[in-house]
């Protein structure tokens, strides 16, 4: 999976979101060990201090925790994982509604078209 960094937001925030995404989609399964700061920083081509900040943010969000011997582990708290997944889904829905609104559809019409499209 590629790291994508855009220009208008802090880099640590984007890294943190992409790490969270990898966790909820199972690239880093629950309970597994995350790669080290240096490995992740080298992979993404970013400053290790920036990657450190992204990982600290994951810990604050409860998606990962530091382990004395094993480095950093992905949480096994399925409720926390589900909450992040739901938040991601809401963001996708929001983007969909905004794009549909730009095309002149109301929320109801957008929802209706989505239902038709998927049935």
């Amino acid at each position: 999976m590629e790291w994508k960094l855009d220009d208008d937001r802090p880099i640590w925030l984007q890294l943190s979101q992409q790490l969270a995404r990898r966790i909820v989609t199972g690239t880093y399964p629950p309970g597994s060990r995350l790669p080290s700061v240096r490995e992740l920083a080298a992979e993404a081509g970013v400053n290790p201090n920036t990657m450190q900040r992204a990982l600290s943010h994951l810990e604050q969000e409860g998606l990962a925790r530091a382990d004395r011997t094993a480095g950093r582990l992905v949480t096994q708290d399925t409720a926390a994982l589900e909450a992040v997944r739901l938040r991601e889904a809401e963001a996708v829905i929001q983007r969909y509604l905004e794009a549909m609104s730009a095309l002149g559809y109301s929320r109801e019409q957008a929802a209706g078209l989505l239902k038709e499209g998927t049935s």
């Binding site: 208008d8 240096r38 201090n49």
Partner: protein
Amino acid sequence: MNDYLIQCRGVRKSYGRKPALTGVDLEVGPGRIVGLLGPNGSGKTTLIKLLCGLLRPTAGTLAVDGERIGPATKAVVSYLPDRMYFADWMRAVDLFQLFRDFYADFSYEKAIAMCRSLGVEPKDRLKTMSKGTKEKVQLVLVMARSAKLYLLDEPIAGVDPAARDFILRTILTNYDGEGTVLLSTHLISDVEKVLDEVIFLKEGRIMLHETVDAIREQEGRSVDALFREVFQAGPVFGMEGGMS
């Protein structure tokens, strides 16, 4: 242990009557990767040469790791000049032996290992190497030391974009995390994501010294975009509107 690895107070430097630095106050902590950014002639190389002791300031003081610039600081500063200064009959291994004799913190083994990963044959003579390969050898010499301060003057200017990425990765993976790296460049978009903080230098003064993330948070745009605005807006100061 000093809080600041680099400290400059009121530093001025003139070449004859031509001013290059006109009052620089700067503090940089340990373990940072810092970009020294500015257009041509803004004083980047002058500041770097002052920090490594190749030039003396006209006024003001500089310190590295709490010491005034001198033999003690030269032992902990690893400097990549903006041009090659080695005889071309030498082989990379000759240079490694020279550096091993000169600097206590130079690791010959690390230099050889870095050559291998960069695809450089250490027994080749410099004159048989391409420009990009020579730059790689110079970078190996500089990064194979475990210095407190790495001063890199335009480390990526002369190489193609693929080699640029490779060099930045080499810097990221070979600095030990405790040393500070100060690198000058005008290719900002290429280096932005590896930097902790940036210093904007303009006409011999520091205009801005801020972390990359703070700039993005406050400005909502990249350092590269900010740089372009700052250094284009200069000539139109005082005009109505200017850059909007």
